[in-house]
């Protein structure tokens, strides 16, 4: 087998060919306009755009569409590629949503490891005061890269869960637009390459990339802008596909309120991704154009009379947070959906208040559009806005509280069992509680004036994101692992993973908040030992390494169990969801016959209730 028969390899070649071509095009155009040939801003922007297109063409994600424009039909090919080993389909364009889901999930996991190791690097620097091995500029690059790589990993992880699970859960054979699905996955890969290249040049503002700093820093910023633009495009196209899939491909009898609850979470998430993402794309595009062409959107520019005829830095913050606040719900709503999905299975009880949970996801998503200003309390915007955004932000606590009470109601009086997925679900709730409770403290303008830009904020959002995404994501991996591989993971190792990671995380985020209240600022490479935060920092670093070690155990577990794990059978968890009624691993076409829904999804423990009727269910 030739290496270039792998789409990924062709794509990477296409990327670098495109990079060179793009730079050449820019240089030739500049010469033609009578300018000096090389300008690093313009050169890199042109290079990155062409490189991304080069990748997408070479990997084969646009082949079918290009044929359509010439009127050539492209019949669907199912199954592994002909004449190549089956594993190669994971490294090439494949239209099966299960393959794409795995591609998203594995790429997301890889990014989690990379982003996490960046954190370990700068955490080691922070363990004691004084600069030991990271100069401030490098420190800032690692810190900023940690954030965006981790955020990308979350977006891909969410994409993994949604692509794999949603069609299975609604009994559909695939997504509504399989080719678009593959495109939306693959556009992430050139984006990741671009993001990694940015490290060669550095950038130092933190993930928020506020101007004027981001307009003055090194050219690494350009790569960040365009990488995030591509990842945003993936979010938009992926969520469009998911919405159409859920609205038009449900089986007979599955009304919206009979969808598995995870689908509701994805519906709410997709609404945010479809719309808000445009704003960060636009904001980063404007930064890029301001750097490249000097278009004054954000930098003020004064004329002889002292009037500002240029831009305003605050405009960027508005555009940025209009996406980035709703985006935090993109990170957590799917995870909260996983929690609601798993609790009834392991409590053997109906999900408490199904409709309320479904609607609370929508409510969080919609109210989330009105609260972005809570990130700007100290920015100097109109003071009356503080009150407005404070009230709207505190409103979000209501639908979030609905979820907590529903989880408690589901657990209450249940016949609980505690295999690893359940442990991670409960761990998620505990961690999300820490994060959630710190939210209103920050949302109160009076307290935020003191806590803004401190380690308290760092503690807040790590707790919400770990509780809302990382823990549920791990729960989901352990839970659906038997469905994906056909084998059980090692329960013992899973439990050790949990008991290392969860207390480790409690310590880490509480210590981060403590450091913040003691006066530790975020995003700096060094601190004054007189603050008395040194022991706290040591604790955070140690906890960070414990968490990292526990994740290595998980990887070991997942790899070895795929070979030696006990055979799982169709439905090891006795779930009612349709994907557990078919063989593990799931066959190419998932469901042999269309399924029909005849009852409520979560009536666990109610005698004689059924959710799906399936021709040939339980055949084997």
């Amino acid at each position: 087998m030739q290496l270039t028969s792998l789409g990924l390899v062709r794509g990477i070649i296409g990327y670098f060919v495109g990079l060179v071509v793009g730079m050449a095009v820019v240089m030739i155009s500049r010469l033609a306009l009578g300018m000096s040939a090389w300008d690093q801003e313009a050169g890199w922007v042109g290079g990155i755009i062409f490189a991304t297109i080069g990748f997408m063409l070479a990997v084969g994600s646009m082949t079918d569409w290009l044929k359509w424009t010439r009127g050539v039909e492209t019949p669907f090919h199912h199954g592994p590629p002909v004449g190549k080993p089956a594993w190669t389909r994971y490294f090439s364009v494949d239209y099966n949503h299960k393959v794409i889901g795995i591609q998203y999930g594995v790429t997301g996991f890889l990014l989690l490891l990379i982003g996490g190791s960046f954190a370990l690097v700068f955490r080691a620097e922070l363990a004691d005061s004084g600069i030991s091995f990271l100069q401030p500029g490098t420190y800032n690059t690692f810190l900023s890269m940690h954030a965006w790589v981790a955020l990308a990993s979350i977006l891909l992880g969410v994409g993994g869960m949604a692509n794999y699970l949603v069609p299975l859960m609604i009994g559909a054979e695939d997504m509504a637009f399989p080719r678009l699905n593959a495109f939306a996955y693959w556009i992430n890969v050139p984006a990741i390459i671009t993001l990694m290249i940015s490290m060669l040049f550095g950038w130092d503002s933190g993930w928020t990339a506020y101007p004027p700093l981001s307009l003055r820093g090194p050219v690494g910023y350009q790569m960040v802008f365009w990488a995030i633009f591509s990842i945003g495009l993936s979010s938009i196209l992926g969520s469009l596909n998911l919405i159409v899939t859920m609205l038009t491909m449900r089986p007979k009898g599955m009304t919206l309120f009979r969808m598995p609850i995870f689908c509701w979470a994805i519906l709410a998430t997709s609404i945010i991704q479809l719309t808000a993402t445009q704003l960060i794309g636009l904001a980063f595009l404007m930064l890029s154009f301001e750097r490249t062409l000097g278009m004054p959107f954000f930098n003020p520019l004064y004329n002889a009379l002292g009037e500002n005829i240029g831009g305003q830095p605050l405009l960027f913050q508005h555009l940025f947070w209009f996406y980035s606040h709703p985006a935090v719900y993109v990170f957590v709503l799917p995870g909260l959906g996983i929690i609601s999905e798993l609790l009834p299975v392991f409590a053997r009880k109906p999900l408490f208040g199904y409709r309320w949970i479904a609607l609370s996801s929508l409510a969080i998503a919609l109210v989330g559009f009105l609260v972005w200003g809570h990130h700007m309390f100290t920015s100097g915007y109109g003071e009356y806005l503080r009150v407005v955004f404070m009230i709207s932000t505190l409103l979000v606590a209501v639908p979030t509280g609905v979820k907590f009470f529903s989880w408690l109601g589901t657990l209450w009086g249940g016949r609980l069992t505690f295999p690893t997925p359940m442990l991670f679900t409960l761990g998620a709730i505990s961690v999300f509680l820490i994060g959630g409770l710190s939210g209103p403290i920050l949302a109160t303008a009076a307290t935020d004036l003191f806590l803004h830009d401190s380690y308290f904020v760092v503690g807040h959002f790590h707790a919400t994101i770990f509780g809302g995404f990382v823990f549920p994501f791990f729960a989901a991996i352990y839970y659906w692992y038997p469905k994906i591989t056909g084998r059980m993971y090692n329960e013992m190792l899973g439990k050790i993973h949990f008991w290392l990671m969860t207390p480790g995380f409690w310590v880490m985020s509480l210590a981060q908040m403590t450091a913040g209240t003691m006066g530790m600022r975020r995003r700096i490479a060094d601190y004054d030992p007189a603050l008395g935060v040194e022991p706290v920092h040591m604790l955070i670093t140690i906890a960070g390494f414990v968490i990292a070690f526990s994740i290595l155990l998980m990887i070991y577990n997942l790899f070895t169990s795929a070979e030696v794990g006990a055979l799982a059978g169709n439905n090891p968890w006795r779930s009612r969801s349709p994907e557990w009624q078919i063989p593990s691993p799931v066959p190419e076409h998932s469901y042999a016959q269309p399924i029909a829904v005849v009852g409520e999804p979560y009536d666990y423990g109610l005698a004689g209730s059924t959710y799906v009727a399936m021709a040939g269910a339980g055949d084997d």
Binding site: T69, V244, Q278, M286, G294, F297, I309, G310, L315
Partner: protein, 210 residues
């Protein structure tokens, strides 16, 4: 006997193909509209930028040019509608004429933007705004540029559809390609309906000293 069964099968297969098309059409339409909703946030962001930076002021733009390009674009929507109707009636020749007319009007609009609004060819027309000069130039170029990008993609779309129609790919019943191209074109026009007053009409014209 065999012949009959094959016949039945053929009919069933035909039915399925028909249903498939209808099902896929529904999904395509929903998908396209979701795409428009998404894009509305992009254009909305540009409008927000305009109001944030300009407030109740606007640059001195050539009103005649604004009026002309806007009318041309509106006319192009009419001809696009006529093209689509022709396709629905199965009149290929008329379809070709009107869809090419649409593309032509689109090109005229683009020319108006690039030559007159932007002043990209000083020999023809001396523009007085530059993207880097001040907030007026920056926003005018950003809004018209993003819109022009959509017009260009619309024109490319038109040529693809025209070519496919020429090869006989559409029928009065099945022409999603034509339909999507037409809706897209109208959408880009509607965006301009919002951009035109924001750029040309709202606020007091100011003349900045640099």
């Amino acid at each position: 006997m065999t012949a009959i069964t094959t016949g039945v099968h053929a009919v069933a297969a035909h039915h399925e193909a028909h249903d498939d098309y209808a099902v896929q059409l529904r999904r395509n339409r929903l998908g396209l509209w979701l795409f428009f909703i998404s894009e509305a946030f992009l254009f909305g962001g540009l409008l927000a930028t305009r109001f944030y930076l300009w407030g109740d002021t606007r640059p001195e733009l050539d009103q005649a040019i604004g009026l002309i390009v806007t009318s041309v674009l509106l006319l192009s929507s009419v001809s696009m509608r006529l093209a689509e109707t022709a396709m629905e009636k199965g009149n290929r020749q008329l379809f070709s004429i009107f869809i090419l007319l649409t593309a032509f009007l689109g090109l005229v609009f683009l020319g108006g933007v690039v030559i007159f609004e932007w002043g990209l060819i000083p020999a023809l027309y001396q523009g007085h705004l530059t993207p880097w000069g001040d907030k007026y130039g920056a926003v005018v170029f950003a809004m018209t540029g993003m819109h022009a990008l959509h017009v260009v993609s619309g024109i490319v779309f038109i040529f693809i559809v025209w070519n496919l129609a020429r090869k006989g790919h559409f029928s009065p019943q099945r022409h999603w390609g034509v339909e999507s191209c037409a809706i897209y074109w109208h959408y880009v026009d509607v965006v301009w309906i919002f951009f035109y007053p924001a750029l040309y009409l709202i606020g007091n014209a100011v003349h900045l000293s640099h």
